[in-house]
């Protein structure tokens, strides 16, 4: 009797998982490329001489990451997400990880969901003091000496939060706290992809920390792939 119950439950779970997977895989996709026009500011080398343990990790000095460009005018670190049209998703349980390594935030822009655990790691030999400058969410400011366990927290409202280190003025990053799981960050080639979208009408937003945000309307029907490109206006200063 008990073995039968277990096998039925297992079978039901399998069917449910398969159905879920099918529904996800069967959705449409929005993909495209983020580029800029005009002349962007030249990245500036960061002098970390006051923190030798970090400086020696970089053979050549790293540069400022407020605007990161690639070949073919591609623009990196743009958060592309569905700002309207998609229902709010339950937060995934796997944490979004933000690493402090070589006195640099990795990744520079981290996108995650409302109520998703955020894990901040210090991989350096020096103390950091992570200070996300939240305005809508509760603001906090925590010191993290080397070798201490990760700081785990979460945000309960959507917001773009600038993050800085109170000890190392050059360390800056962004938390993009979003309502649903449909988000991506443009890569080195400026490319992004938002898969698994059910049919519907969506507002797609591209957000860049220096160049602001842009939106576009897209309608998805069935399992088609729609191309959406963003072009940001670059400023030399």
């Amino acid at each position: 009797m008990r073995a039968k119950l277990i096998s039925i439950t297992a079978a039901l779970a399998l069917i449910f998982a398969a159905a879920l997977l099918h529904a996800r895989a069967g959705g449409g996709t929005i993909s495209g490329k983020v580029t800029y026009e005009g002349t962007p500011a030249k990245p500036k080398p960061i002098d970390m001489s006051k923190e030798p343990s970090c400086a020696k990790q970089h053979a050549t000095p790293i540069t400022t990451e407020t605007v990161v460009t690639g070949p073919g005018n591609s623009l990196e670190n743009v958060v592309v997400y569905i700002s309207a049209g998609a229902p709010d998703d339950a937060a995934p349980s796997e944490p979004a990880t933000f690493d402090q390594k070589g006195c640099q935030y990795i990744p520079h822009v981290l996108a995650f969901q409302v109520n998703q655990p955020l894990k901040v790691i210090n991989d350096d030999q020096t103390s950091h003091n992570i200070h996300p400058l939240a305005k809508v969410n509760r603001e906090w400011n925590k010191s993290q000496p080397p070798g201490t366990p990760p700081i785990v927290d979460k945000y309960d409202k959507p917001e773009f939060i600038p993050v800085k280190c109170n000890v190392h003025p050059w360390m800056h990053g962004t938390f993009a706290v979003l309502k649903n799981s449909h988000h991506a960050i443009s890569g080195q080639d400026g490319g992004f992809s938002l898969p698994n979208l059910p049919a519907g009408k969506y507002t797609v937003t591209g957000w860049h920390e220096s160049y602001g945000e842009q939106t576009q309307e897209v309608t998805i029907s069935g399992s088609e792939t729609k191309t959406v490109n963003f072009v940001f206006k670059a400023k030399p200063y």
Binding site: K44, K50, T126, N129, V167, P169, W170
Partner: protein
């Protein structure tokens, strides 16, 4: 027993005061033109303090020796005039001492604070903020662009709040996290605090000057030896105070020109 204590006290006092008065202590190398005056002043102060200490301790030892075994029935002798006379005497003694040190030291102080820098002194602006120093050079045009605190954007390395889009003078300003200067050239350091009080201290330069928010202060000095020296903040400025430091690189003129060229190319 009391006599023995008096002797031990005198020995301890002599052993402690001698290294101070005889200048046994080692001082860091002096790399500035004005530093010798500060060192002399320090040596004078140490000698004077050492001798006063020795005098007071020997007097104490003498009293211990002389009066440790009071005969029964002997009376305590009070100085006539009581406390008032003692306070007045101490006041005059200490006052004379401080005045004398002040008179002796006024030249060392005036060299740094009351003498303006030469007109050809190189101007460098220093900004102290939690928890790092940054230095700004006026660039090719020799002029500093104005500061706009609202434009400060540290993630973009705009630590001073420059607005190169609108201020032409700011476009060639060079910002560095290290203070690089040519040797044997007078430097005028303009000091600006971004947030709270900080201090600029380079022991080899014999300079320690506070940054005060809201006040634009200045110090001038002429480094005389090439090398790398530590600049530390010596005014408790917050959680990261322990980590607030930078480096002073005194370079030959040739190396400085090379460094400047490199910085200009990074603009």
């Amino acid at each position: 027993m009391g006599k023995l204590f008096g002797v031990v006290l005198a020995i301890i006092a002599i052993l402690s005061a001698y290294p101070i008065v005889a200048h046994w202590y080692v001082q860091p190398v002096d790399i500035s033109t004005h530093g010798h005056a500060i060192d002399e002043q320090l040596a004078d102060t140490m000698a004077e303090a050492g001798l006063s200490f020795l005098g007071a301790q020997l007097l104490l030892a003498f009293f211990v020796w002389r009066f440790s075994q009071r005969k029964p029935g002997s009376r305590v002798w009070n100085i006539p005039g009581g406390a008032t006379l003692m306070v007045a005497a101490a006041f005059i003694l200490v006052g004379t001492e401080i005045l004398a040190l002040g008179v002796l030291g006024q030249k060392a102080w005036a060299n740094v604070y009351f003498t303006p820098p030469k007109p050809d002194a190189m101007q460098i602006q220093s900004q102290a903020g939690q928890f790092a120093f940054y230095f700004r050079y006026p660039g090719v045009d020799g002029k500093f662009g104005p500061l706009h605190p609202d434009k400060i954007d540290e993630g973009n390395s705009n630590f001073f709040g420059l607005d190169p889009a609108n201020d032409v003078e700011s476009r060639d300003d060079i910002v560095s996290a290290e203070l690089d200067v040519p040797v044997n050239r007078e430097i005028q350091l303009l000091m600006h605090a971004k947030d709270v009080g900080h201090s600029f201290y380079v022991r080899e330069l014999r300079i320690q000057q506070d940054f005060v928010p809201g006040l634009d202060l200045a110090v001038h000095f002429t480094p005389t030896q090439t090398g790398k020296y530590e600049i530390v903040c010596t005014q408790l400025c917050g959680l990261g105070h322990y980590n607030m430091k930078a480096y002073l690189n005194v370079l030959s003129q040739e190396d400085f020109d090379k460094w400047m060229k490199q910085k200009i190319s990074e603009q």
